[in-house]
């Protein structure tokens, strides 16, 4: 169904493909619908709180190509968080030809408030009442016909995970615009209407959204909208701004509340007779599971079980152990590398160039081997674990369980998602810190990710390295935890800013659909691979250059004092130089050193701790710079490097003194 490229007759009159945007609250099944519509397994990215990106795909309905845009969840047109802002951008600037408002049938009343806002904004809305299957199981009845009449827009019942309602949605999209649109608005109370009309009266610019909805947003003090209106209105803006200020002041105490209450009563009128629920609430197994997962007494053991089996057993032992052994040792070292080495040597006569491809730091023998043989299996198993857990709806529950604890680090439970994701890929997790609400939280989370959260590749290698020496893993774990807590608590004390607030919607617990889990894993893997492979190759080339010019030897020698102060052999410097390119690359470098028997238990532990804390990989650093700016990123980089080596030094002295290892 998905097509690449756009042919001529599928374009609308102004030369652009028609566009349909999916909007709605978080967790209503927009992404599943997106997948089902586009048939693409390429650009799924909407998971509650883990993505702030917009994804696009395409589909053909009745010979017409449509671009389908999936947006992050939003609660209302008046946006509060960054994801919501991203979603609204689409509505504000992209002029979609159809807006699919997807909502959860079980929460019709609450979510219809946004439908009303979208209609008020004069957007071409189709309402998709999703998750009908679960609603029916709970005994809820919804009269879609009547709802359609009352709203004056197409209304379709669907269960997108079961592909129910899909054909109707397609028909509705393609036939939209063929029927004349009925201008419909839902009046507020008399006073509010008066205030709104006074503001509208002063507006002269041309907008994509209706003036009525913009006037309401202005009164709500929406900064982005205010900025846009100021730009459009030009000279007339001063008078308008004065009026808005005056009205906002008059209603200062209760504008948001009044508006919400009035919308609520509009919605109540709409659903009168549309929505009926059973007298007694049906308690499902998922409800029970949900309850167990959030009660501390059962929830904490559950969390430990999930982490043990998920992270340690599946990612650590299976991914980093079994699969890496198979891929790296059996396939790369035994088969691919020897074969490649002979082939390359046959083709290329110059030794220096041979080195570039199959030498010590060769693109094939090192970069590809590391990327495919060691990193890929670990990251893949981690992403399977993460995506599975994500689809069960467990993360928000984990978040509420750890919120109190995280408050000590200046974070809220919300940060649990970037933190857990950080165990997969710190770079990706740093991107996701955008979902945190205050700048302060984002900076603290970025710092902790850069410092104390090892990514899966690194973690996998470190676990498999350290588990060979009794006690080493425990020492490493305690060090990480200690530094995480210490730095978190200190950062909270030092950094200015208000205490963060925690709130989160708990989606129902579900058994994940495997196809969906693999789609997500695949997408993440793809992202990851596109990001790392060039860096690995670049690293190989630079290291090769370094070796050819003798720079590596100089660098290793110049780092010898640092290494010896940590009690490490000078060859360990290579792992640190690798580590600068990628953390996992560095860890993999340690792996090689250990395989050659150059490190004892103490040295191994010190090296592992230092390397885990050490400066994040280039990719993470670049994302830090992009998200937080040069100053913060540079500060964090410097702090992390200093702390890494001083912690390594202290740990080495401590271990020598106590003789634990």
């Amino acid at each position: 169904m998905a097509v690449d490229g756009i042919n001529q007759d599928s374009l609308s009159h102004d030369g652009k493909p028609l566009r349909v945007a999916l909007v709605g609250n978080p967790n209503v099944g927009k992404s599943v619908l997106f997948n089902a519509l586009t048939g693409s397994y390429v650009t799924v990215s909407n998971y509650p709180g883990t993505s702030v990106e917009v994804s696009r795909g395409s589909t053909v309905i009745d010979g017409q190509t449509w671009q389908v845009i999936d947006t992050p969840g939003m609660y209302a047109i008046h946006t509060i968080t960054e994801e919501e802002r991203v979603a609204r951008e689409i509505l504000l600037h992209e002029k979609p030809d159809v807006v699919l408002h997807v909502l959860d049938a079980r929460n019709l009343e609450r979510m219809l408030a946004m439908t009303v806002q979208l209609i008020e904004a004069n957007l071409p809305v189709i309402l998709v009442v999703n998750i009908m299957d679960e609603a029916e199981r709970m005994g809820l009845k919804i009269d879609l016909e009547l709802l359609q009449q009352r709203l004056g827009i197409p209304v379709i019942g669907a269960a997108s995970t079961r592909k129910r309602g899909l054909d109707e949605i397609r028909v509705a999209i393609s036939s939209y615009g063929t029927q004349p649109r009925i201008e419909r608005s839902f009046p507020y109370g008399r006073l509010l209407e008066y205030d709104i009309s006074e503001v509208i009266w002063l507006m002269t610019g041309e907008y994509l959204l209706s003036r009525r909805s913009l006037a309401v947003l202005l009164l709500q003090g929406d900064e982005e909208i205010t900025e846009m209106v100021r730009h459009k209105e030009g000279d007339g803006y001063a008078v308008l701004a004065e009026k808005v200020r005056e009205k906002a002041f008059e209603r200062r105490d209760s504008f948001h509340l009044d508006l919400s209450l009035q919308r609520n009563s509009i919605v109540k009128n709409i659903i009168q007779g549309v929505f009926s629920e059973p007298d007694k609430r049906v308690i499902t197994i998922s409800d029970r599971l949900s309850t167990w997962s959030v009660r501390p007494l059962t929830g904490i053991p559950m969390m430990l079980v999930v982490l043990y089996f998920g992270l340690y057993k599946f990612v650590g032992e299976f991914g980093a152990g079994t699969v890496v052994d198979l891929l790296d040792k059996r396939i790369f070292v035994d088969i691919v590398n020897p074969w490649m080495i002979t082939t390359v040597k046959e083709i290329i006569p110059w030794e220096i160039i041979q080195e570039l491809f199959v030498g010590e730091y060769g693109i094939i023998t090192l970069a590809f081997r590391y990327a495919v043989g060691i990193i890929l299996p670990i990251v893949a198993t981690f992403f399977i674990f993460f995506s599975f857990l994500e689809d069960t709806g467990y993360f928000p529950r984990l978040a509420l369980l750890v919120d109190r604890l995280f408050k000590h680090f200046g974070l809220t439970g919300r940060a649990v998602i970037p933190m857990v994701l950080g165990f997969g890929c710190d770079t990706m997790a740093t991107l996701v810190t955008r979902t945190l609400e205050t700048v302060r939280e984002r900076v603290i989370a970025t710092l902790l990710l850069a410092l104390a959260i090892p990514c899966s590749a690194q973690l996998g290698v470190i676990i498999s390295l350290l588990s060979k020496e009794t006690g080493a893993l425990a020492v490493w774990g305690v060090c990480m935890l200690l530094i995480f807590v210490l730095v978190g608590v200190l950062a909270t004390k030092i950094m200015p800013g208000e205490a963060p607030v925690f709130y989160m919607e708990l989606p129902p617990m579900r058994l994940p659909q495997l196809s969906n889990v693999f789609t997500k894993t695949y997408t993440r893997m793809q992202w990851y691979f596109i990001e790392i492979l060039p860096l690995f190759i670049l690293a190989s080339v630079l290291l090769w250059l370094g070796k050819v010019t003798g720079f590596i030897g100089t660098a290793i020698n110049s780092m010898t004092p640092v290494m010896s102060s940590l009690g490490l052999p000078k060859e360990a410097a290579v792992a640190f130089i690798f580590g600068f390119f990628r953390r996992d690359y560095g860890a993999a470098g340690l792996y090689d050193l250990q395989a050659q028997g150059m490190l004892n238990a103490r040295q191994l532990t010190v090296a592992a701790v230092t390397l885990t804390l050490f400066i994040p990989c280039i990719a993470q650093f670049l994302v830090m710079k992009k998200e937080r700016g040069w100053k913060v990123a540079g500060g964090i980089g410097l702090f992390v490097s200093l702390l890494a080596f001083s912690s390594g030094y202290v740990l080495n002295q401590f271990l020598l003194l106590t003789g634990i290892l």
């Binding site: 609660y75 209302a76 008046h78 509060i80 959860d104 079980r106 929460n107 009343e109 609450r110 709970m138 809820l140 003090g221 948001h256 509340l257 919400s260 209450l261 609520n264 949900s290 309850t291 959030v294 009660r295 501390p296 928000p396 529950r397 978040a399 509420l400 369980l401 750890v402 919120d403 109190r404 604890l405 408050k407 809220t412 439970g413 205490a499 607030v501 925690f502 709130y503 989160m504 919607e505 708990l506 129902p508």
Partner: protein, 214 residues
Amino acid sequence: MKLSCNAEEILEALWIAVEEKRLPALDPQYAGIPLDDPAYRELAERALIEIRQGMIYFRPEGREEGRMTIRRHRLAERLMMDVLNIRGDDGNHQACQFEHLLNEGVDVKVCTMLNHPTTCPHGNPIPPGECCHKARADGDLGVVPLTEFKSGQEGEIAYIQTDDNKKMQKLMAMGVLPGNRIILTQAYPSYVFRVGYSEFAIDTNLAKEIFVRK
């Protein structure tokens, strides 16, 4: 007919003297209103007080009237301080004026809104009214922050009290709107509640700003 303001002041002073200071009677000079004020005659004519040898005594009906007057005064003080946030002398002065308006059922409303307070801001007891007894008998907690709910308890959202607009909007986006039913399913480590068919988790800071009625 309503009593004059001065008459109410005298009743209050008398009630404090007799009920709280355990004196047999009130000396008019402590009431701050001279004995020749018509208010004394007004009270005497209504058979609320008795004046003997220059001292003021309660008649049985007057005792009850005094109790209700002092109750209104102290409720007014609470209102000034807790809700309107007017403190100090100004608050006291405003309360003096305000109490005279708290008649005919208004005191019941105010008392319920303040969740049947037992003491005034100065720590003096507020005599309970009918509404307080009834609330106690029904086990009605009145309007309390969500943090006072036990897990499993169900109620109706009364109002949201926050200075922070963003917080207010977050809460409203979750369906936390006055009039909606709310069930607290868990209170630790975070507050977990259900509105409609959705479940939400919030921290103590947000929970204490949601006021609910049982």
